[in-house]
């Protein structure tokens, strides 16, 4: 700041231009520091969205062979495989998200009850999340193996029928009914066992992550709120229902959005364990998109499919924001 002492106008002017130059240098330096990150994000994150939109409007073989507008999209909407894959994806998410979050919250709440060895437990359950997906999926394929897997060996050991697990297209309710001699119609037989096997694996991977986040959320709830509720006579389930659960809702909401988006894009373990089979029972949208490009080299069609999947995710996120988001309590 120019001080109030007698300064002639020339030196003030000189001072401001020096300062302006310094300021300009700082701004230039600041943007130079931002440039590498911004450039990478622009080129590989933002630009591909628009480029993908363009590709999806083309019959694409290395370049845009023919501009076909909505052609790929109309074809997708008439493609029964696309509807099937969206159905599989929805089933997968609808079963695995509540199981993952419910189990995660349950265990986190148990751990929060001043459990000995809590730290050791957290380290162990977090292990599946950090190890290589391809490796753990390969191990699980062996565990699930119909003839040489550990799971079937255990089932036989306790006198139960071995199952085909990842190779089973029949629904789980149908299989259960069969053990008591009933035959269920197709619509009532439930999700195929192959899909359920993938869900069990997914739960195994992500519960540790959910527990970690839930525990941090539980730790952020002020202790005096519990004390106040206890003074009012609340305990056990009511304490959880009326104090813990509402105050935990921002954490739960974050996990819900994150998990739904994650399950809609699940790919690595499905590709390693089933490649979408048997008989398309586990062919999620993500697998279909990949396959259309990787095996059939249909870049335009694959890009169109990914925009459709994105639209579905977007709609779901907006709905979750409307309905679940309005129940979130922020203090």
């Amino acid at each position: 700041m120019a001080t109030g002492t007698a300064v002639n106008s020339v030196s003030v002017k000189g001072e401001t231009s020096v300062r302006r130059q310094k300021r300009l240098r700082e701004v230039a330096l600041g943007y130079a520091l931002l440039a590498p990150a911004l450039l990478i994000l622009l080129v590989f994150q933002v630009f591909p969205v628009f480029y993908g939109l363009y590709i999806s409007a083309c019959d694409w073989r290395l370049t845009c062979r023919e501009f076909i507008g909505f052609g790929n999209y109309t074809r997708a909407f008439q493609d029964s495989e696309m509807w099937h894959s969206l159905g599989v994806t929805a089933t997968y998410a609808l079963i695995s998200v509540p199981i993952q979050l419910g189990l995660g919250l349950f265990i986190a709440y148990l751990l929060f009850q001043k459990i000995r060895g809590q730290q050791a437990f957290r380290v162990l359950v977090f292990l599946p999340y950090i190890t290589s997906t391809v490796a753990s999926a390969a191990i699980w394929s062996q565990l699930y193996s119909p003839d040489k897997g550990l799971i079937n060996a255990a089932l036989k050991g306790i006198g139960l029928q071995p199952l085909k697990w990842l190779g089973e297209t029949q629904g789980i309710f149908g299989l259960m009914a069969k053990t008591v001699g009933l035959t269920l119609p197709g619509w009532a037989s439930g999700p195929p066992l192959a899909l359920v096997s993938l869900i069990i694996y997914t739960t195994w991977v992500f519960v540790g992550y959910d527990i970690t986040i839930f525990l941090a959320g539980l730790g952020n709830i002020p202790a005096d709120l519990y004390d106040a509720a206890k003074v009012d006579g609340a305990s056990g389930w009511r304490l959880f229902r009326y104090v813990t659960f509402p105050l935990l809702s921002p954490t739960t909401f974050f996990l819900l959005i994150f998990t739904v988006i994650g399950t809609f894009q699940a790919f690595n373990h499905i590709y390693v364990m089933t490649q979408g089979g048997p008989a398309d029972a586990t062919k999620t949208a993500s697998i279909l998109i990949f396959e259309q490009y990787f095996q059939f080299n249909r870049a335009g069609y694959s890009a169109a499919l990914s925009f459709i999947l994105f639209a579905v995710i977007l709609v779901l996120t907006v709905i979750q924001n409307r309905y679940a988001g309005s129940r979130v309590v922020y203090d």
Binding site: K114, V134, K148, A216, Y293
Partner: protein, 304 residues
């Protein structure tokens, strides 16, 4: 946001541990079963990597003395390496090449991410720039773009840039991390402004201040970003599968999957040895650094 130097609060209620009751015994039993389930597949992997083929398929749980007669089959490891084949261009076993490719990709990606994140976060946190809030919002908005949406166009770009089947394709698109920028910025904001004024008096400029003072002070944030990016990059599978073609450009995850597809499906003991080689480095790293992992994950999860 909780600073990541603080231990994570998990027990806020300062009352003594309640005595052991039936309910608590049930809780412990349940938790112990769950912990066992979390590690069993890994134990199964290591054990089967040391058995003969016969013992893996008959589910002989302990074929070694004192219950069995088999010796520990350490030979499975060199056998798996041999089975995976030779990289003709460098004349080394392909598995070594996969390791090298993974290490090159991971180390360059992590180093690049740290550098770009530190620089961008410093500009956002410590400098007075016009429009920087918009820039930050823009950076945050890019995480809304799901990876699947940009997959095909990005692969097409790799062909057009002539990066297909090169390290450039594996590394360059991932040299910026929104998570890294976000985490560093939060951390930098907590460094007292007085430090900068003091450095200024000593004649330091922004760059000196950044690399001499801010970076050394931010080690926890840097380590967390580095570790998480390490496991994410180590784990990446879909992208390397799409942008590499030759066996000698594969990373470990792709190499393992191809092995499972071809030989591994039948030769379980070798596949388990391969899987152990891929997994064990990460597990060991994790046990030494698990504090940073968990805190890093929490700081992505709980924002604001």
């Amino acid at each position: 946001m909780a600073t990541i130097t603080q231990p994570v609060k998990t027990q806020t209620v300062a009352t003594p541990r309640p005595p052991l009751s039936l309910a608590r015994i049930l809780i412990y039993t349940f938790l112990i079963i769950f912990a066992i389930a979390s590690v069993t597949p890994f134990v199964y992997m290591v054990m089967n990597s040391l058995k003969t083929y016969g013992s893996t398929i008959t589910n002989n749980l302990w074929p070694w003395p004192p219950f069995g007669t088999e010796a520990l089959q350490f030979q499975n490891y060199p056998d798996a390496i041999k089975e995976a084949g030779i990289d003709r261009s460098w004349n080394i076993p392909l598995i070594y090449r996969y390791f090298l490719n993974s290490l090159i990709t991971v180390s360059l990606t992590v180093a690049g991410v740290i550098l770009t994140s530190v620089m961008a976060a410093y500009a956002l946190a410590n400098m007075d720039l016009p429009g920087k809030n918009w820039v930050f919002l823009f950076i945050l908005a890019t995480i809304m773009v799901p990876g699947d949406l940009t997959l095909v166009p990005k692969v097409v770009m790799m062909f057009q840039l002539k990066w297909y089947n090169t390290y450039a394709a594996l590394i360059i698109p991932f040299l910026a991390s929104v998570f890294g920028i976000f985490l560093m910025r939060q951390f930098f904001l907590q460094i007292p402004r007085d430090l900068f004024d003091a450095a200024l008096i000593d004649g330091a400029g922004h760059l000196t201040y950044l690399f001499r003072i801010v970076v050394p002070l931010s080690r926890p944030a840097i380590v967390t970003t580095a570790l998480l990016n390490f496991i994410w990059t180590w784990d990446s599978f879909k992208w390397p599968l799409l942008v590499t073609k030759d066996a000698n450009m594969r990373v470990l995850a792709v190499g393992l999957q191809q092995f499972v597809q071809s030989e591994g499906g039948t030769e379980t003991h070798l596949m388990m040895a391969f899987a152990t080689m891929v997994t064990l480095p990460i597990i060991i790293l994790y046990f030494f650094t698990q504090k940073y992992f968990q805190q890093g994950v929490i700081s992505t999860g709980i924002k604001g």
